[in-house]
């Protein structure tokens, strides 16, 4: 890959190597407090997730709670611990958009699973939860 060292690149390179004083200012530097706050929040959210199971929530309530806590935790980790909220949009979108395609896979596979399930019920004449053989 041909890469000409333009004026802009030179400036960039200088800013990256820099002297000691400069170097300490590069990269992701944020107050420590925010990490402790997120740490605490993750503990609280995990406790809530655990309590969902402990108190035997079922059906829609269970799923709504589990997914809410899951996405909140995932969001906090990516946004703050992995510093994504301070990155430029070019990187943010390059990393966060592609996984959305997985929704297609999950959708297709859930249709497939449903099909397999009913095929098994019809073909083997099974009632749910009653294996025909060991």
């Amino acid at each position: 890959m041909a890469h000409e060292m333009t004026e802009v690149d030179t400036q960039h390179a200088l800013a990256q190597t820099g002297d000691g004083q400069n170097a300490s200012k590069q990269g992701q530097q944020h107050p420590l407090g925010i990490y402790f706050a997120i740490w605490g929040l993750l503990f609280v959210l995990s406790t809530f997730s655990y309590l969902v199971d402990y108190f035997h929530f079922v059906g829609f309530t269970r799923w709504a709670l589990i997914l809410t806590f899951m996405w909140l935790k995932a969001g906090l980790i990516v946004a703050v611990f992995m510093h994504m909220r301070w990155e430029r949009l070019a990187l943010m979108y390059a990393i966060l958009i592609p996984p959305l395609l997985l929704a297609v896979l999950v959708g297709l596979m859930s249709i497939e699973a449903d099909y397999t399930y009913w095929t098994r019920i019809l073909f083997f004449g099974l009632l749910s939860g009653q294996p025909s053989h060991g």
């Binding site: 990269g27 530097q29 944020h30 995990s46 589990i66 990516v78 611990f81 992995m82 497939e112 294996p131």
Partner: protein, 224 residues
């Protein structure tokens, strides 16, 4: 000399400009960091394949799925507590993420001792996590769980369990080796000579990702 910063656009326009101007796309991002993010993206797809396969076999089986709440329960001091081991493992992994985030911060402050100590602490949490996982595996194997059968219901439970937690445990183990190596280099002063501590942040990205994957495994495998 043109002012580089003044030429850069912000917001949505910056997305279009960065990707379309035949130049460096990820500005002010260490190449190692961009590459780590791209690796993590590919790893996201690997774990998603595992979790999607698990969803598929679990919703297509006509046999009852073993109840994780009971399977992973422990009796501590005469008390039967559901899913307790997994809850403790979750808190340990979150704590390891916390110490790692702090390590990155101290790295940029050029505080070598604190950075290395926090990274070793992170690795130690990781070892604890893997040890508890080894305990969990041993317990289940002794109870008769195999990739093809188990005493409680759908045989697919075993294969999903061993593949998903095994692959995650492998990531934690590799992370422990990775972090220990970087921490030793930090302590030795390797990055002081280069004046660049982004390596710590890159290692941190990997470690936080391991924690991130656990969030999804915890929700889908253990809480479903």
């Amino acid at each position: 000399m043109t002012d580089h910063a003044a030429q850069e656009s912000q917001g949505l326009q910056s997305l279009v400009d960065d990707w379309s101007t035949d130049q460096e796309t990820f500005k002010r991002v260490h190449w190692g960091k961009a590459m780590m993010w791209i690796f993590l993206l590919s790893d996201t797809f690997i774990f998603s394949c595992f979790l999607t396969s698990y969803m598929t076999v679990r919703s297509s089986t006509t046999m009852p799925w073993p109840n994780p709440s009971e399977v992973f329960a422990l009796t501590i001091a005469g008390q039967h507590i559901p899913l307790i081991l997994i809850a403790i493992m979750t808190f340990i992994l979150i704590s390891s993420s916390g110490t790692m985030a702090l390590a990155v911060n101290y790295g940029y402050r050029h505080d070598r001792r604190t950075t290395a100590l926090l990274m070793y602490a992170t690795a130690l949490f990781g070892v604890t996590f893997v040890s508890m996982q080894a305990f969990e595996w041993t317990k289940l194997i002794l109870e008769g769980v195999r990739p093809w059968q188990n005493p409680w219901g759908a045989p697919q439970f075993g294969s999903c369990f061993f593949m998903i937690t095994g692959f995650h445990g492998l990531h934690v183990s590799i992370g422990v080796i990775y972090l220990s190596t970087i921490a030793t280099k930090v302590l030795r002063g390797d990055f002081e000579r280069k004046g660049n501590y982004e390596v710590v942040e890159i290692a941190g990205l990997y470690w936080h990702f391991v924690d991130l994957v656990w969030v999804f495994i915890f929700a889908f495998f253990y809480l479903w």
